[in-house]
């Protein structure tokens, strides 16, 4: 299956990927409106790790043997049979944080809406995930390896 791979050498650390992740998953899908009205309860599903001159964007790896699916007590972490992505059903999530405890990439974050977890969902089967599309330096690639 296709996954997002980041090239550390080309990441600017600008975080436009995080911004567009938020916009794509907002209700309004319009950047100014989303930031004005929905900012308080949106956390990007992926994040940029950044230390001076080295940075890269980290998305959920959608592991074949996903430890988060094993650990989820509410059955909220599931495999989307169509895309192969690991997605979190936010309605089932109870915020126990077991997934955060087991993700070896640190790709799951606490959401802002109280308890629910925020995680990359490969933009729910869009042709190209938003982060890949909007990276100004082509540091993110969506491909099968």
């Amino acid at each position: 299956m296709k996954r997002v791979y980041a090239k550390e050498a080309y990441c600017l650390g600008c975080r436009l990927c995080e911004i567009h992740c938020i916009v794509t998953h907002s209700k309004s899908k319009k950047i100014i409106k989303a930031y004005r009205t929905e900012r308080d309860h949106l956390v990007p599903g992926m994040h940029v790790e950044d230390s001076g001159s080295v940075s890269f964007a980290l998305q959920c790896r959608h592991c074949d043997d996903a430890p988060c699916i094993e650990a989820c007590i509410a059955g909220a972490m599931q495999r989307d049979s169509r895309t192969g992505a690991v997605v979190c059903d936010e309605d089932r999530c109870v915020g126990c944080w077991s997934c955060i405890m087991v993700c070896p990439a640190g790709a799951v974050r606490r959401g802002r809406r109280g308890k629910v977890v925020s995680k990359c969902d490969l933009c729910a089967g869009e042709e190209t995930p938003a982060c890949v599309l909007h990276c100004p330096n082509e540091a993110l690639h969506y491909e099968e390896r």
Binding site: L12, G13, C14, L16, I19, I32
Partner: protein
Amino acid sequence: MRPWLIQPEFEIERDLDRCIRCQVCVRQCANDAHEYDSEDDVVSAHSIRCVGCHRCATLCPTDAIRIKQAELDFRSHACWTPSVIRNIYKQAESGGILLSGMGNDRPYRNYWDRMVLNAAQVTNPSIDPLREPMELTTFLGRKPDKVEVAPTRGGLALKTVLAPQLELALPIMFSAMSYGSISLNASLALARAAYEEGTFANSGEGGLHKSIYPYADAMIVQVASGRFGVNVDYLNRSAAVEIKIGQGAKPGIGGHLPGEKVDAAVSETRMIPENSDALSPAPHHDIYSIEDLKQLIYAIKEAIRYAKPVCVKIAAVHNVAAIASGCVRAGADIVAIDGFRGGTGAAPTMIRDNVGIPIELALAAVDERLREEGIRNRASIVVAGGMRCSADVVKAIALGADAVYIGSAALIAMGCHMCQKCYTGKCNWGIATQDPYLTKRLNPEVAERRLRNLLRSWGLEIKEMLGGMGVNAIESLRGNREHLRGVGLSDSELRALGIKQAGVGA
């Protein structure tokens, strides 16, 4: 305290209705011109630090930023212009030389803009480049005085031994930009793009970094007065060698790469100690006469076993025709002339803006002189210094050039916004810097693609213009001044360029 009398040159305008406080501008500005106040949740600007590079405006996801020239108006004065006044303020403050990057920005007459091209009509049909082959292939090198052929069974074979030639798929090459003044990613992109498009890139005086070795067949390596990176392997690892006598942006003076930009990789490539200033002296200290130049040219030819052309690069100055003639007679296979609009990483502003002559006039003079002396075939002429578009290329070839070098245009294709602050080492586009945080911004794969696109698009346009003139090979245009006419030029300028006035005569 802020330096006295120094005002912002640019104003950063932020549309607060569009600003979403994402802080991309804050993170991306190498000059720290944007700042986020988390208490008030607002992004504000320090316009004094803005150099007008547009990095912030380009990356802003809501297009909330506009960069304008600063509004501080002086009472209008044709002689004491605002820029002249500001320069004096700077010098009164610093006591030092004013520095600039890129090329001459003064409003000297641009002769390309006053020459027009012909098109074929009625008596001489034009050619459609989509339906007929159009030859742009160009050979640079010494051409023989005569050609002897001998009959063979199949037809004719060439008896004359040709001097080594560079074969270009189109008459455009990337001009000399040293690794050290530009980033490794930029150098790599130039080398790869030239390699893939069948043309050449000039290494500049910074030596050849090992990651560029695979593309050595597309590289013209430069031997400049500092001799950085020069040894026999360097000379052999190339398609041609260029001796740099002068540079259009700063004729007569040498070069200086500050020690801070000499990191481990630059040090290894230039073969100088890390963090030491890289000084290129004004003259080559072993070239004090034309005979010395001949000696160096042949020393290099010996070292490369006469297998490749040797080029000499000179700046366009007043007696450029005589100098060019001397270079040709000294054995140069190619003479590259850099006009006064040529770019640079750093030059004293006064020299950049006031020394040297326009390449258009230099080219016309050199081509004319070499033809008069009957030695035009002994060397190809390559021109540089402000080639902005394919029309400039076509006009240059019509005036007599064999090919052109592009420098600033290539950098602009990679993202340069001509802010002229290259000498600070804080190029926000990752081009004229060695700072690893900034050099990542130039993705060499993307840069290579854009350079290749630039070459391809100019190549297509040249074919269109040639076809329009009824010419199907670039050879037929070379030095053919009949295809040019002048508009808005004085009689002496027309004579200097060797072209006729538009609209008059046949």
